[in-house]
């Protein structure tokens, strides 16, 4: 006998080739636990393209189709339409792409799939850089972070542009369901996926999945970093159902952003002024989100 808070079924096998303490594998485990066996995945070039291992190895108990970097949205649209023609409308079609394949390279295909209104899931597992190819900066890399293409030095050339909010871009497409989730809150993530499963139309979920290799922290801290991202309001967890915002986890006393930043080697270079600047940016984002929640819940 065991009491569990998340489904017991396991659709991700052991023996995959992810790094120690990989956040993206935990994200995949939960996604498949929530969606179940009748799921078809499509994965572009990203960490998950190498995690299942080389041919002829498979790592998932569900069908998985690899696509080119920029076409995840188009691939899942095609799979969906083909399944509908075959009468298999109960099968979940999921695009599972990294932040590079979503925020930068795959944005046009995703936008088109959302606009056409296919009944698909698009899951962006956000590890905040192109981790698979060696930690290059992406549109989703946060302010102040070191990456191999935004190195440090005397000129302090770190990435200073704010993180692109793909979730907000998707809200602007007026799709039925948009949510953010992270691996430290599996129950929250799974309930969001289940809610999305009951809706028709494009569903977008952004999952923050910390990467020990690229974020430069010890592998045992993956879940801790993910939890701190929520508790410091760096990555708020919310859902937008038909345009109505709801913040699912509101930290009572948000911790200072410094706690989150100083755990990670990619922010090690930050000075006190720079941390204050990031704190201000995070506070503004959080206030804007609270305002959106309040405004959209009215009437």
């Amino acid at each position: 006998m065991h009491r569990l808070t998340i489904p017991e079924e396991e659709y991700m096998l052991s023996g995959h080739t992810a790094c120690l303490g990989c956040g993206a594998t935990i994200a995949m485990r939960y996604v498949l636990k929530a969606l179940g066996k009748r799921t078809i995945l499509s994965i572009p070039a990203c960490c998950w393209a190498v995690i299942p291992g080389v041919y002829p190895h498979r790592n998932l108990e569900v069908p998985l189709l690899y696509t080119a970097f920029e076409v995840t949205g188009a691939a899942i649209s095609g799979i969906r339409e083909a399944l509908d023609v075959m009468g298999k409308e109960d099968v979940n079609v999921v695009g599972f792409a990294g932040d590079g394949g979503t925020a930068d390279i795959g944005l046009q295909a995703l936008s088109a799939a959302a606009e056409r209104g296919h009944n698909v899931f698009y899951i962006m597992y956000d590890n905040e850089a192109y981790m698979n190819t060696g930690i290059q900066r992406s549109g989703s890399t946060p302010m102040g972070a070191w990456t191999t293409t935004t190195p440090g030095g005397k000129k302090r050339m770190y990435k200073w542009e704010p993180k692109k909010s793909v979730a907000e871009i998707m809200v602007a497409h007026n799709i039925p369901y948009v949510a953010t989730a992270t691996i430290a809150y599996p129950e929250d993530m799974i309930s969001k996926l289940r809610r999305a499963k009951e809706m028709k139309g494009p569903k977008f979920i952004q999952i923050l999945s910390p990467c020990p290799t690229g974020w430069r922290y010890p592998p045992d801290k993956t879940v801790e970093v993910s939890r701190l991202a929520v508790q410091t309001n760096v990555f708020p967890l919310y859902e937008v159902v038909n345009g109505k915002y709801r913040i699912t986890i509101k930290p009572k006393n948000p911790k200072p952003v410094k706690d989150y930043l100083m755990m990670q080697g990619r922010f090690r270079h930050l000075t006190e002024e720079e941390i204050a600047r990031i704190q201000k940016h995070i506070d503004e984002n959080w206030k804007a989100l609270l305002k959106k929640e309040r405004c959209s819940q009215e009437d």
Partner: protein, 107 residues
Amino acid sequence: MAIILPEDPTPIAKVPSTENKTGGWRTFRPIIHYDKCIRCYICWKFCPDAAIHFAPPDAHPSPKEALAKFDTVEINYDYCKGCGICANECPVNAIELVLEEAGGEEE
């Protein structure tokens, strides 16, 4: 390793990845001290390698009478990469990381 050739022109990967014994990557071996384990299954929940599985309640001693009816957990050392998330997340610190060379065979 047997390579399975596809019967149809589309290459379909059929060999489960459980053939890769990733346990060889490990530097630190997590060891569960069952006398502290409260059966919360948080280690099972957060394992990125799905290398923790359930075992019958009587497979390991329990710290309390009331917990004796719940299943215990075991780590599959064939696949555990030793990331240490389980040890870090364990609410009662029942999981200890031991350097692999130090002979973490038994408790």
